[in-house]
Amino acid sequence: MARITPGQAYGFFTDTSVCIGCKACEVACKEWNELPGNEPVFGDGYDNTGSLDAQNWRHVQFIDNVPDETSGTGQGKAWLMMSDVCKHCQHASCMEVCPTGAIIRTEFDSVFIQPDVCNGCRNCIAACPYDVIAQDEHKGVAQKCTLCYDRLQGDMEPACAKACPTESIQFGPVEELQRAARQRVSDLHDQGVTEARLYGEDDSIYGGLNAFFLLMDEPEAYKLPNEQNAVLPRRNNVPGYLGTLGTAVLAVLGGLIALRRRREPTPATSSGTTPPDPEAGDE
């Protein structure tokens, strides 16, 4: 691959149609980024990682999609396997709400949480629509995939892409990856794999995802919000504040009514209380 140059947008194209679920990406990520191991999760499937979190920046999802009746070759449908990762959104929900400025866009156009700036408020966790970010309980800061920021600065591709044996994870300039992805989905359609589709390669999802996917089913099957649901937290600012403002006006009016009702009566009694307003109960 050509030199990795700052100023250019880099990302991943994760082609789930060729993912074999080997988890080499998870291991390589943990090794390079010195992420500790975690207690394995044992569920129904072959996934013992559980989810993306502070210690797992790549997570191979195993989605049981086995049809009730055998219907010929699987074509990647029996198990949907997908190496999930931070999407490095162009319009990033995490970055939008971060109050400290810890989440920045790097010179490689990736979304990066600066560990020395983050103070662990967890607002980004509440915002990320992909369940990517979690807080490291020892360091007390939010963590996620860095697109191997340190490796990029050293002109090396991210560890997961380097380790992937099937080229399910491809790294490169986003524009090149988009071209390759469109060609790939076109080839698959020509081969009759009509369920193949791209997710996040154009600007319909969060302005475009620098880490986008070729999926073999609806996005929601992979726990990815569809286009309608890919919305930013700030959408609720105006209605939220307007609702608060309306309530504030009513609260002040209520207070004024309470004050007005008690203004009419005659002077205080010996007990110190204001005598009742005989008219008050009639309103």
């Binding site: 983050c118 607002n123 369940d131 309530t247 309470a258 009702r261 205080a268």
Partner: protein
């Protein structure tokens, strides 16, 4: 608008739990009590001055735990100041993002804290508890229009602090929280209810403020009605997202029962007596009122307000 079956949430909960619950509770009381105090001072009678001072004491006292709760909730508490100052190399400067309620809230809390402190000191001076001329002289400047302006601006910030916490929850991608626009108003209204109830509770210990008791009772009823209306709106806004069961289902319905119990004194009083203080139109002097009326009922209201926040915060985490 998305239909129920179309709404998707795949987020992780931020694990905002007890510290945040109590921050929301105290912020509501602090802001609400300041607003009530301001109304007494700006639109009340001279006899309401004592209740206004009580409001400022409550506002200040309720404000004190707020930053403590917020700091303790952070993963890195010693970096709390990163909320205000960006330490990114080459980007050093103040942090202010008007589109992030957490960022706005930090500054609002700071500014409101200044107003609450000034008004608290003013109340102490007026009560004769501070006699230092070094303090009394500048406070005297607040006796006129300037003082009214300070209280009015402080009340605006107080109302904001009481309500923005709900907007903060909504400006996320969390189920329930981001499916409604009513949380800001709901937290504000319940904060006002709690403040009026707490002031009523404390009137027992400040006889000079008793002339304002009737006004507080009526205020509490109106705020309870406002809170009830916002609970209904909150519920209605959740229907399109099919999220009603998430927050109102079992076991959270038990908390909502506490919430509704807390609304009973206010809404019940409004139904029974409307805007008169009692059915007979005669306010019962607090010192001779039953303990249930003057102690248990306000306490129930406060518990209800805490339960409301707990139901909203914990039901999705």
């Amino acid at each position: 608008m998305l239909l129920a079956e179309e709404v998707q949430h795949f987020v992780r909960s931020p694990d905002w739990t007890w510290f945040i619950l109590f921050y929301f509770f105290f912020a509501g009381i602090s802001g609400g009590a300041y607003a009530i105090a301001a109304l007494f001072r700006l639109r009340g009678e001279p006899s309401d001055e004592h209740a206004a001072r009580l409001g400022h004491y409550v506002s200040f006292a309720a404000l004190l735990p707020c930053p403590v709760m917020l700091v303790l909730d952070l993963g890195s508490p010693l970096r709390f100041w990163h909320m205000m100052w960006n330490t990114t190399p080459g980007e050093a400067g103040f942090n202010f993002k008007y589109w992030s309620p957490m960022s706005v809230g930090v500054w609002a809390l700071l500014v409101f804290g200044a107003f609450a402190t000034v008004s608290f000191i003013q109340a102490l001076v007026r009560d004769g508890r501070i006699r230092l001329s070094l303090v009394r002289r500048p406070v005297k400047l607040l006796d006129g229009v300037l003082g009214e302006l300070v209280v009015a601006i402080g009340a605006v910030f107080g109302l904001f602090v009481a309500g923005y916490t709900g907007v903060l929850l909504s400006v996320s991608n969390q189920p329930v929280w981001s499916d409604t626009w009513a949380l800001g108003g709901l937290f504000l209204a319940s904060g006002m209810t709690a403040s009026a109830a707490l002031l009523l509770l404390l009137l027992r210990h400040r006889r000079s403020a008793e002339p304002s008791a009737a006004k507080l009772i009526v205020s509490e009823r109106l705020y309870a009605l406002l809170e009830l209306a916002l609970i209904v709106i909150f519920l209605l806004t959740l229907i399109p997202a099919d999220a009603v069961g998430t927050v109102f289902g079992f076991p959270w319905i038990l908390l909502w029962l506490v919430v509704f119990a807390g609304l009973l004194p206010g809404v019940g009083g409004l139904l029974a007596s409307r805007l008169a203080v009692t059915g007979e139109g005669v306010p019962v002097p607090l010192q001779s009122a039953s303990a249930v009326r003057s102690l248990a009922m306000p306490a129930l209201v406060l518990l209800g307000v805490l339960a409301l926040r707990a139901a909203v915060i914990f039901s999705i985490q």
